[in-house]
């Protein structure tokens, strides 16, 4: 389920998305966050998708209650969002990722 890192080495931003199995909600969130990364964020951003039903210990470690949960793990301090992440602009704003937004090419 883990999506390939967009760049090698330590990323500027590490996002972890915790989901449960292949529920509609999970799939929606994965699609939304992956789309957001592709569309708005630069190469320094890495996304990992974690299925809590497969790796509950990791969910335990991060104390995940709700899924989907998106955590900005790097840079610290971490920030959390809960929900299906249907509004990418708000996600970027709430996770403080504005400075990592790729400059827009002219349309």
């Amino acid at each position: 389920m883990e999506s390939a890192p967009l760049a090698g080495g330590t990323p500027d931003v590490l996002l972890r998305l915790f989901v449960t199995g292949s529920s509609q909600r999970s799939l929606r969130a994965i699609e939304a966050v992956e789309g957001m990364c592709k569309e708005f964020l630069g190469n320094g951003v890495r996304l990992e998708v974690v299925d809590v039903s497969e790796t509950p210990d990791q969910a335990e470690h991060e104390k995940i209650l709700a899924t989907p949960t998106l955590i900005r793990q790097v840079p610290s301090p971490p920030r959390r969002l809960v929900g299906d992440m249907c509004e990418p602009e708000r996600v970027i704003q709430l996770l403080g990722l504005k400075e990592y937004v790729r400059p827009r090419r002219a349309e």
Partner: protein, 503 residues
Amino acid sequence: MSASRELKRLKTYIPGFDLISNGGLPAGRTTLVSGGPGSAKTILAGQFLAEGIKHANEAGCFVTFEEKPEDIRRNLSSLGWEIAKWEAEGKWVFVDGSLHPKDEPVTIGDYDLGGLMARIDNAVRKTGARRVSLDSIGAMLIQFGRPTVIRRELYRVAWQLRDMNVTSIITAEHAGHAEAPVEEYVTDNVIILRNTLEDEKRRRTLEILKFRGASHSRGEFPFTISEDSGIILLPLSSIELRQKSSDKRITSGIAELDNMCGGGFYRDSVVLISGATGTGKTLTATGFLAALGEDERGLLFAFEESRDQLYRNALGWGVDFPKLEGAGRLRIVCEYPEVAAPEDHLLRIKKHIEEFQPTRVAVDSLSALERISTPRTFREFVLALTSYLKDKQIAGLFTSTTPSLLGGSTVTEAHISSVTDSIILLRYVEAFGEMRRGIAVLKMRGSQHDRSIREYTIDSHGMHVGEPFRSISGILSGAFTHSTTSELQTLEHLFDRTDAEDV
């Protein structure tokens, strides 16, 4: 699934709970425990697991949304539960659902509690837990702020727990008094905890509101939180007064009083001695304890006088308490009634009885305990103590102080006269310008007794009962009239009738 109609139960081993719930919590189901702040929800949630580990070696999983695990570990360990040790042994596992305020998640769009479910599932698998407690929904609602989602999700959690075949408790805040919490609809089983102030006295109760498809006792049951073992329910209404009806008699310590009672007290009976101050109640209790038979032991709970005072009084009547204590035949427990609530006194009394195994127990006086109780708690206290003594086949003697010097009945009597087997009245009698004392056996269950009011005196050897007052009536009410001998017959009959009606 069991084929029987009645749900299978899981014994909680919480003292008293399995009795009022007719066998424990519905096995494999979720029970909602609802209560206001400070109603001991967390203790109940923890105790459910602790008792399972202690008595049935069943592992438990504690899911906390409010306090951090380290706080719960510390707070509950003060009740004598070795949570850290159990964790090391894999018998107790925390799932930490508490969040730092700074971690409070912002929500965008729809979500579920998949993370929580996976973690509970994981913890239950690892430990083989049979019991799960979740504490509490309120904290969860605050964290996520979407009550409808949380309720929908809790419903799913309850179903998942059921699939995992664990028996679980979910606690919920319940601000109001009468109305049921919304969360009630999530589960088939609801318990309400209350912590109310009644006449300036704290009163904790537990009520089973519903167990779907399972029977249970109805109404509120008082409980107390013991320092070393947690919640203890006092299932008063469900205790049947088992009349083992021993016909064995024991002496009251006063030969004439034995005669009045038709040959002494019954071995498993509870006697109430009612009288104004100075009429000899403590003396009667002293005599009762001094009259121990060969293999008997006595226990005195003194709520009014200090040990020294008791020793001195007893010595004045020729009874050597220290010697009896030294010989291991007597234990005296002196306490201020105000140091504890009636429920706690009851527990202490029981503890002493279990340790000392007495055959006679005297409480001097009940009125002192009445001061610190509401009428209801007091009645429950007396009921519980009485049924406990009877169950153990211990002879009990309670004293009760009348508020007025002359006549009158005590509130105590009104509350408990139907519970006690015998009532003996000690009264001041004003006779021809002199203060004298009269004793009467008002009630003696299962036996004939002397119906006259006899005069008694107290000297350095104790109490001496003499002849009946023949020419005075109205002693019980305190409104004396002196009658001539010719009227005597009629009056005696009158008294007999009122006696019968009063009891």
